[in-house]
Each structure stands twice: as structure tokens, then as C-alpha cells.
Amino acid sequence: MKIGLDIGSTTAKAAVLDAQGTLLYSDYRRHYSQVAETVTALIQEIRSRFPEEHGAAFAISGSAGMGLAEKCGVPFVQEVYATRLCAEKMVPDADVIIELGGEDAKILFLKGIPDARMNGSCAGGTGAFLDQMATLLGVTTEGLNKLAKEHEKIYTIASRCGVFAKSDIQPLINQGARDSDVAESILQAVVNQTITGLAQGRPIRGKVLYLGGPLTFLDELRYAFDRTLKLQGVCPEHSLYYVAMGAAEKASEEFTFDGILRELDLHKRDMGFAHMEPLFQNPEEYDAFCKRHERDKVVRGAMPPQDGRVYLGVDAGSTTVKFAVVDKDGALLDERYESNSGNPVPRVRAYLEDLYARFPGIRICGSAATGYGEDLIRNAFSLDFGIVETVAHLIAAKKLQPDVDFILDIGGQDMKCLKIRDGVIDNIYLNEACSSGCGSFLQTFASALGMNIAEFAKLGIYADSPVDLGSRCTVFMNSSVKQAQKDGASLENISAGLSVSIIKNALYKVIRIGSAESLGRHVVVQGGTFYNDCVLRTLERELGADVVRPDVSGLMGAYGAALYALEHSTGSSSVLTAQQLAAFTHESRPVTCSGCENHCRLTINTFSGGRRYISGNRCERPVTSRKADDSLNLYAFKRAQLASYQPKPGTRGKIGIPMGLNLYEQLPFWHTFFTKLGFEVVTSPVSNRALYVEGQDTIPSDTVCFPAKLMHGHVRALVREDCETIFYPCMSYNLDEGMGDNCYNCPIVAYYPEVLAANVPELRELRFIHGYVGLHRPGNVARKLWEMLYRDFYIPLPQIRTAVRAAYAAYEAHMDRIAQEGKRVIAAAREQGKPLIVLAGRPYHIDPEINHGIDRLITGMGMAIVSEDALRGLTDAPPKVQVLNQWTYHSRLYAAAEYVSRQKDMQFVQLVSFGCGCDAITADECRRILEEHGKIYTQIKIDEIENLGAAKIRLRSLFAAAGIEK
């Protein structure tokens, strides 16, 4: 008898084979981190089923099995190897295996050059991800599967990593998208993630096997794979047990059951993981801690107040919805904090009905909404005000601690840090999309272990050696937890470790403090996550100072909104009355907007009384039916300029130029150059989702920035246009604008043509000219281009010289036009009294698929937009910087930041593509330049993510802080 054990991140499986390799018995169960215990149970079960056997040959496999195997002296079989072994036996004609596990995703190519791909350190686990998403929707994964069957449409959800996808789904839920559509979109995101992240350009064809838990249990997920891969995959019999069976196959060393069980028992409590000091040494310490925090209480009053006048605040957060009711003095009368179960609207309705029923005598005299669902709730229930959550938090914190100078808010999805100076927001730090999900991460973790969040948090209080999990995004933590589990860490220590890592994330990743003093002396913490004593304790310990945790720390947003409503009340509120509530209806319907080329997927919410709320829009057009006003939008100006370079028929045939990365700026140069030489210059179309997907399968590195990934689609589009030649030069150097010590491009911009040449097969069938060009040396360019083109086109050198001269002139004229327009916009905005935003980035950030329409979002808020390159001429000398200033695009950013820091009516907002290592440096330096002059630095990270919710909060907070909120 041979037994294979497969210990994965969430489950343990066993397969028993006879000598001929036939499966006799199999079993699986969730191990909830209790690996040794679960395996013991599995073995005992096997033993009872085969009473005549005293032992068997054993082998262990699985991502969490390595440690156990080592300790028990049982041979370990790498899990991918085991899968392959089993597949070769069971389905010899399989070509490709797709296996999704709790936290792993794998693709195995069996034919041709055998190859196996596992998810990298960044792509989140898929099973765990599905669990997390299901929890978000308030269903099980099977429920998610069932929901998905009813879907009508699929929303675009970022597919690179779980956390990203989550930040996309959350707003969809809050904006009232249909559950079934969201469910299907989640499954589709898993599919996209697997294909882009793992196949990385290698086509998935032939007979495909689906293995592992999610693919076994969720048929909709299999259909989603089938649909996307355009084939019919197979989920074979025993698809859960391939790893275990493969391991059993390899088992040759005999063990007695008694022996194995004894070993397991010995190793139940092994301490092999990196750990830290306990959070509390003893119960006394914990009591003292609790006592101290009991002091921080808000003023409360009895309901109903004497005059019957109350003010309502609603905070519709990412996972919860919170209510606060105050009286005319701001005393808290009523409160509620509950999960929104994926849709906040019914929760709010229920609360209001309940409020009216309990206290028929009250009169709501003011009402305000805040949080992610602010617009939805405000429209649905006709509240008076909508305020950005950062402002709500500040108002609430000030009530409790008037001289507060720092607020740290950790909610379900996001983390907000507000630095307060003289009572106004001086600086804002929001977590980047990659580390979001802190609070809800704990939540999901807890429910994966079968307990609620409060229980789970409590576990950590007396943990003797909390696991050191580091401070990075939650996906990394998942694998660190896996490691700790492997090393036998107890639940208590994992719980405490997770709490610690949340704080470390906040301090060292989001705020990046050097010392506790830099936060200020009066720190107020809020957000539901701080109900967790371990989290609070860690913060105090890291800061080496006591902080204030209000007794309503999870409620502060709603409390602040209520206080705002009180302050701005006109004496009465338009909030729905009890009668209106009784007749309340809410319907949501997905549609695709056809207003412009963006084709936004909108959700139209209709409420009783004819109120409507549209979400998902990137401009005001679907709401106001007016075209976006681009008169003070330099991004739109630049796009229009580039669109004017149209192909002119020529004698030398077509030459294609992909519109992306540096060519977004250099188009005037190359268009002029090649048109002059008699080519018909064809540019690739404006980027959109479909274009991206077209090239997706040829991207070799899944962590490269999105603008680079788009290039694959652009060259494919040119191939489709029958260009016999495509021109996309490599450029180590950019043009030298004299604003830095050198004029490099970043490595990606410099050499991406090499990647395309090596990975897009069609490019070998046509002429793909991707030689090296140095525009920084105008004197040499003509000869070098002549050499480059000579092999294919016999163009005389003088002709090239003339074309180069014209090209430089065209480029200069283009840049001058931008600078002129910049001056015009600044003057016009000043005349019209509009605030100016310098939306700084890189030339390709004007691509609407890259910035997701952020420029129009800003102009829609009544601001004027100038780009960093439009400030040329206003800044003549390079600013003094504390970094190496040798990249052309970076130099522009520094110069722009320096210029803005001296302008009272300008704000600096930097667009940063996710994965841009260079901007890690520029962002820090731009921040320093601005802060030295008392200006606020705002960064917006952009990726495939379609939703602009987070960007909106950031911008509105900036406007509020700068005193220019509408």
C-alpha cells in the first residue's frame, strides 16, 4: 500500500494506492493551520479503513508539506512534479494542466518543451482570493459559482493580483452592480490572471486538464476558462488528488502507522519561525492597557433629545456601513456599525426605518454621507451633503482631541493617514492599491479559519511569540503565513503576527516614518481595525508613545459626517421621510455608455421618486449629456495634437509606428522624418482594453509596467493594418533638454523594442526596425539613421539629412505648442478663477487607457490641467535635487515640482504607473521639493485598474486641504 499526502495552503489531502497504482481511498479536509493535527486525523481514518495493514510507503507533497516531511523524515515530492507524474499516468494525451490551489496557481506544459509555471511572489493565490471575494459578497465560493450562472455582463476587473481585483470589485458592489455580474467578473479575473501571469506568451492549446479545488468545485470557473481559451477543457476524475496520487506513486519508503503518528505527535509544537516579543507580558499589563484606553470616550446623550432635532451621518465604507446621530450640541445619540453584505442600500434603508420607528418624535435637521458609497447613498436617500471621508475623519477627531496633529485610519480596504497642521489637513497619505485590504484581510483570514474577526483578534493578545511576517502587501503576507504554518506556528502567534504587520505596513510602507516624533504628539487612531487590541498595542509600541483610540473608533467617519451636517444644517433636511421610505425602491442596471470612445461600463441606479444615480462614468457626459469641456485641459490638447499626424500616401510604402511609451512624444519627429522620405506613416490606434488584450499573450514579464504591456497590443494592431515595416527604435538616451546631468531613458522605455522583437512572433515575418538611435546627438543622427535604413531602403544620405532637420524642427515646434498652450491655460484659469492642477507624469500618461480618464475627472471637478512638459520655458535652470538627476523625464518632474512649489494657486499631482521603479525615486524627491515649500504632494498610482474611486478621494482630499473644494 502506498500513501501520498498533499498538504496545501488550506487543505490536506490523502490518496491511498495499491501496488498496481489503483486508487483505493482518498480524503481531504481543511487544516485551518493545524497541519500536524489534520494529517494525524487523516492517517487515523486510513488506518481504520484498512485494519489489516500496519503501515505503508509514505510520501508527502504540497506547499505546506515540506517542513512536516523534513521533521518526520518522510520523503518529500515537489508538488508540480507529483502532478505531472500522476497526469502522465491518468491522462497521457494531456497537453496542458491548469491547476489552481488554495494559494497557488500553476500551468504545466507537458508537450513540446516541457515547462511548468507557478505564480510569482506577486500574484495572489486563487483559491484564497475566491474565498475572500465570496466573503465580500456574503456567500460561499459555491454560492459565488451559483450566482455567476445568472450573469448578464462582465465588468473589467484588474487581473494581476488579488488585492487589485478587490479594489475594483469593492466599488462595483458599493455602486450597486448586480451580484451575479460581479461574481462572474471575479471568475473571469481569475482566468485572466492565470493566463497572463503564468502562460506568459506561451499559447495554451490542445487537451487541457483542470485540477485542484476551485476548478473541481466551480463549474462556472471552468466555463470561464473554456470561453477565454476557446477550447473545451477536461476536469478528470479525482482532479483534487493528482498531487497526492503523484506523491503516493513515488512513495517507496515503508513506515508503520504507529511510527508516523508518533512522529507527528512529536512535531505538533515546533518553534521554527521568525518571531517577536509578546505583545503583552502578562494579564496585568493588558488590563492597564485597557484601562488607559477606556478614558477616550465621546460625549453621549440620550435619545430622543428634548427638542427632537437630530443630525444624521452615514459612512458607507468598503465593507461596512456606519451610522451616527447627534444632537444640536454634537453629543452622540445613536450609532450602528454593520457589514454592508455587498450592498449598502438596504442597510441604510433598514436603519432609517428602524430609527423612525423607535423615535417617532425626532426630526432630522441635517444629513450627510461619506465613504466609498457616498454618492450612491446620498442620491438614494436624498441626504443633504456628501463629504469626502478624510474631511469627515478630521472633524470627528477634532471633536475628541482638538489639538490632534495626526490621524491614522485603518479601514477595511484602505488606510488613511492625515497630518494636521493648524486644524487643517496638511498632508494625506493613502495606501497604494497594492497594500490595501488591510482590515478586510484580517477578516478574510479569520473566516478562513472559521472564526469571527473579534475572536481572531483576541487570540493574539497573549501570543507568546508572534510571527514576524514583514511589512508588505497582503499577498506577500499570505505566503509568509504559509511559511510560518509550515514551521508550526500556532494560531495565536499568527494572529498576533498579522496585527503587527498591519501596523508595520502603515508606518513603514504608507507613511514611511523615520521616527515617532515626526508624527506629532497627538495621534488619534480610527477605523474598525483598531478595535483589535493587538493592532493598537503594536502601534503604541512602534511609536513608543500612547495614542488616542476613541471608543467609537470604527464610527468616526459617520460621526464626523453627522457633525458636518449639524454645522452646515439649514434647519431642515431633505432626507427621505418614513412615508417616502415605505415606498422606496432601488433598481440597478448595467449599460455601456456610447458617448465617446471610452465606452465606459455604467451602472444606472434608479430609485423611487425618479432619482437616478449613474456610476462607473469617467466624465460628466452620461450625467449631464454634455461633451467634456476640454478648453483648460492640456492632456486633451496633447492628444488632439498627436491625432493630427495622419498618414500621407507615399512612394516608399507603409511604415507603422506603435503609439506608446516615448513615441507618444516623439511622434512629430518620426512622422515628419518618414513622411519627408516618402513613407506613408501609419500609427497604431488609440489604446483601449481590446487592444491590450490582443497583445496580452506575448508579455513575458507580468510585473512590468502597464504602459509597456500595452505595446504588445500596439504592434499587433500595426501587423493587422498590413504594415510591411514597423519602426520602433531603442534609445538609451532621450533628447537632452539641459535640465539634468544626463538624458537617459528608463530601461523599459530604452529597450522595450528588444522585448517585442523577442516575444511577438509576427514581428519576425515583417521588417521590424528596432535599431539604436541617439537623438541626444543631433550631429550624428542622420548618418546613424542612414546606416540603419540602408539595408532595406536605399535612401541617399543628403535626403536623410534634410528629413532629420525637418524632424527636429517639427519636434521642437510640437514642444513649443505645448508650452504655449500651457501659458494660455494658466492665464485663462487665473482669469476664470479656476484652480490649477499640474498633472505631472510621463508623456505616455496622456493615453486614456493608461490614465483611465483622470484628466477629465479633474476638469469635471472644475479645475484646469497643465502637464509637466507644458511648464518648459517657465523653468529655466534645473532645480537643486538630492538625487541623481540624469533621466530626461525625471528632470521635467523635478522642474515642475519646483515651479509649482512657488505658485500659490497651483497643486501638484503625480501620475505613477504601478511597477515603475524609477518613480519610486522621483515620487520621494518631488514630495521633498514640495513639502519644503509647505505644499502638498499627491500621487495617484495607475495600473490596469479601471475604477477611479481611490483617485477621487485623494483628489478631493487634496482640494479640501488646499481649500479649493467645490
Binding site: 520523503p75 511589512s471 505566503s479 508595520k504 510585473t703 522585448v755 539604436y772 521603479g917
Partner: protein, 440 residues
């Protein structure tokens, strides 16, 4: 067009040369110990840092922007951790860091280090930039040509010791012999360099031979091992701190490891001058100067490789011109940021030299490696179907279990494709059985 600006950095003055100890980060354990002796000879007091572990990473996380590359985080973490340890007199300590001045963001390390020092309250500590491109200068630290030459020679000796010990360690009969021999030679070479010996080409030839013979004489038990090559970003490729002790892990897995030497990188940097001139035109003097230097180093490296080859029992890596040829097959040598085309070429060289299993180490999100590492893998596999390559990301948050899992997976394929007569998979399974256990 270029405008030089003065920064407010702390200058390393002539007086400091006498009073200060200069600290080095730990990147090349063998090489840096030898180089120290060159510094000694020129009157600098230096020390190579060896502090490591989670402490260093945590310090780095605290003082460096989390999104910058992992090597920056480690190097700076190691420096600040050392300064905080109380082991050093803060008024008489300086730091030294290399700066290539290339288009990779790594050229910024020194600035990030200064920012971090400021944040940690060590503003008084001078930081010396070790560069050959005139990026920053200090009156107290002059990199003269003879000194530079000696440093290069030290690196070649280091490369030889590394290449040989890597080929002996897996087979030594008595565990620890190879490392002990490295220790002996590091001392001997150091003393010789201090007394200005071992610097002429004939002397080097003799010494190279002597070293190679010494390693050949270590009692060894030759058996079949999986031969694994390591390429990658220079810091994580070499530094055990950066790659979670990769060489040790591979050794435990029953592999023989080949790590191409650091001279390749130096020569690559020099050759870039010439390539730049060819591609873009420009300063002839600069490019011919580097050509001269390149030829000299090629001669030295050639002598070292000859010595290894003459032993008859060790694999000598291919000389630099061969790497250039190999690189040309896949990528233009204009790709010069970070490790640039060299990384691609080294991968091909390893495959060609009998190390078809290659680990490409890179910091998570390393920009040049998107191009030269992952970006070129499909091409490499087309050219060399036997290639068995895995890219491993290193990062402060990446769990070593994931890295090890992926390496083990690569190794398990190595067993199969390592077979010269590629029989169908079913037949091969039976004999890979035993090996699998031997490996794990």
C-alpha cells in the same frame, strides 16, 4: 549643455583618510576581502561588513522607500544597522558605495543612502562614491590608475577562487577543504598585493596556475550532480544576504553551482563605451581608452582561464569576446542598463558550457531584467531547447518557501531533460525515481 551642481554632501577630506575607517557593503565575500588589502596599501583603513539577517532587512525597510530595489534596501540596511550597533566610532567612520552612473536606477543608491543617513540621524558620516565616471569626487579619496589596476587584479584573483571552489565544494571528500583553501589563498594574495607582488602578467600566470593546481589537489569524489548556473542582478547574484544563501541551498540539493565571475561585469561596463560610440557617435578618446583597458583585462582573464583549463579537471568559463558573440545572437549590445546584454549572454554561455539549468536571480521589479532576463527567455529557449531556466524574484517580503519551491521544480525538470538521449517521458520516469530521492 551639462551643468554640474554642488551638493551639500559631507566631503571625505584628506584628514579623514588618516582618522576614518571606511565601511564596505558585503557583496562579494571573497573578492572584497582581497580588495581590502589594496586599500590598505594606499593607506585607507577599511572593513567589509558582515552583519546580516532579519535585522538588516528591517533596518532597510525603515529607512528606504519600499518600492526601491531590494539591493538598495539591503546595502543601506546593512550600513545603518552597523552604524547603530555601537561598534563604530561615528565621528571616525565613512561609508563607501559603488556608483556606475548608468541608466538603471541603481545609480541612485548613494543618494538614497544619504537620505537614509539623514533620516537615521547620521548626517555627519561621509559617503564615498566609488566610480570611474567622475560622478563625485572627494579630496581624501583618489582613485588612481595604478590603484584601479590593482583592484581589477584583485577581482580576477577573486573570480578564480570563486570559480574553482564552486567546482570543488560539491565533490570534496573532506567537507570544508575548499573553503579552507579559499581562506588560505585570500590571505596569501592579500599579503602579496600589499607588498606589490603578483601584479605583472607573468607573475599572475604563475600564481593562477598555482591556485588552480592547489584546488585540483583537494581530494575529491567525482560523481554526477545537477549542474546549475546562476546569473542575475549583480548584488542578488553574488551576495548570500541578497539571495537567501542560494549557493548553500543548491549545494544542499546536490547541485554543482557555476556563478560567472564579476570580471564579466567590469568588462561589460568598459565595452559599453565602445558600443555607445558605435551606436551614437561621440568621444573617440574615451572609447579608445576603455578599449585599451578592456584588452588588458581580457589578457589577464585569459591567463586565469588558461590556468583553470590546464588542470584538465575543471570547466573554464568562456572568455569575454565569446560572451559578446553570444549576446549578439539574441539582443543588441546597446542594451546596457543594469546587467544589460551581459545577463542574456551569460545565460547562453552557461548553457553552452554544460550548465543548462540556469537560475536568473533578480530583485522584485528589477527594470533591466524585464528586458534582459525574462524578456529574452523565450528567445534563449528557441536557440537552446535544452535550456531549463527559472527566474527567481528576491524581495524583503518574498517567502523563501516560494523561492525554494520554484528552484526545486526547476531541478526536477533538470533530471529529465539532463538525459542526453531524450527518450519519451514514460520510459524516463523509472530511473529518475531514485534520483528524486537522492535530491530531496
Amino acid at each position: 549643455m551639462k551643468k554640474k551642481k554642488t551638493t551639500d554632501r559631507v566631503i571625505f577630506t584628506k584628514e579623514m583618510k588618516k582618522t576614518h575607517t571606511i565601511l564596505f557593503p558585503d557583496m562579494l565575500p571573497i573578492h572584497f576581502e582581497i580588495i581590502r588589502h589594496v586599500f590598505d596599501q594606499y593607506g585607507y583603513r577599511t572593513e567589509v561588513l558582515h552583519n546580516d539577517g532579519r535585522e538588516v532587512i528591517n533596518t532597510g525597510l525603515k529607512y528606504v522607500h519600499n518600492d526601491t530595489c531590494y539591493p538598495a534596501l539591503l546595502v543601506i540596511g546593512q550600513f545603518i544597522n552597523a552604524l547603530q550597533s555601537g561598534k563604530y566610532d561615528l565621528d571616525h567612520t565613512a561609508l563607501m558605495i559603488t556608483q556606475t552612473g548608468g541608466g538603471c536606477r541603481a545609480s541612485n543608491y548613494i543618494f538614497l543612502l544619504r537620505k537614509a543617513l539623514k533620516k537615521a540621524g547620521f548626517e555627519q558620516i561621509p559617503v564615498i562614491s566609488l566610480n570611474t565616471s567622475g560622478l563625485e569626487s572627494n579630496p581624501g579619496f583618489q582613485l588612481t590608475i595604478p590603484m584601479l589596476v590593482k583592484m581589477m587584479v584583485a577581482l580576477v584573483y577573486g573570480d578564480e577562487l570563486m570559480l574553482l571552489s564552486n567546482q570543488v565544494r560539491p565533490y570534496e571528500k573532506h567537507q570544508g577543504d575548499a573553503d579552507a583553501l579559499v581562506g588560505v589563498w585570500v590571505k596569501r594574495i592579500g599579503t602579496m598585493l600589499s607588498s606589490r607582488r603578483g601584479l605583472t602578467l607573468p607573475e599572475m600566470r604563475r600564481l593562477f596556475d598555482e591556485i588552480a593546481q592547489a584546488f585540483a589537489a583537494v581530494p575529491q569524489k567525482r560523481c554526477s550532480k545537477i549542474r546549475v548556473g546562476v546569473v542575475g542582478e549583480i548584488y542578488v547574484k553574488f551576495s548570500p544576504l541578497g539571495n537567501n544563501g542560494l549557493e548553500k541551498f543548491l549545494l544542499e540539493q546536490g547541485c554543482e553551482v557555476m556563478v560567472p565571475g564579476v570580471m564579466g561585469f567590469i568588462m561589460y561596463t568598459l565595452s559599453n563605451q565602445e558600443v555607445d560610440h558605435r551606436l551614437y557617435g561621440g568621444n573617440v578618446v574615451k572609447s579608445s581608452l576603455s578599449k585599451v583597458a578592456l584588452h588588458y583585462l581580457e589578457a589577464v582573464e585569459g591567463a586565469m582561464l588558461d590556468a583553470i583549463r590546464r588542470t584538465g579537471c575543471f570547466t573554464a568559463p568562456s572568455p569575454f569576446p565569446r560572451l559578446e558573440e553570444l549576446g549578439d545572437r539574441v539582443i543588441n549590445r546597446g542594451s546596457k542598463m543594469g546587467e544589460g546584454w551581459l545577463l542574456t549572454a551569460e545565460t547562453l554561455e552557461l548553457i553552452e558550457n554544460g550548465y543548462p539549468n540556469v537560475i536568473c536571480t533578480q530583485p522584485f521589479g528589477c527594470l533591466p531584467n524585464h528586458i534582459n532576463g525574462r524578456g529574452m527567455m523565450n528567445r534563449i529557449k528557441e536557440l537552446a531547447p535544452q535550456a531549463n531556466i527559472v527566474a527567481i524574484d528576491y524581495d524583503s517580503g518574498a517567502a523563501s518557501v516560494n523561492q525554494e519551491n520554484r528552484i526545486k521544480l526547476m531541478l526536477s525538470s533538470a533530471k529529465r531533460s539532463g538525459d542526453p538521449d531524450s527518450a519519451p517521458m514514460e520510459e524516463k520516469r523509472s530511473h529518475s525515481n531514485k534520483e528524486e530521492y537522492a535530491m530531496t
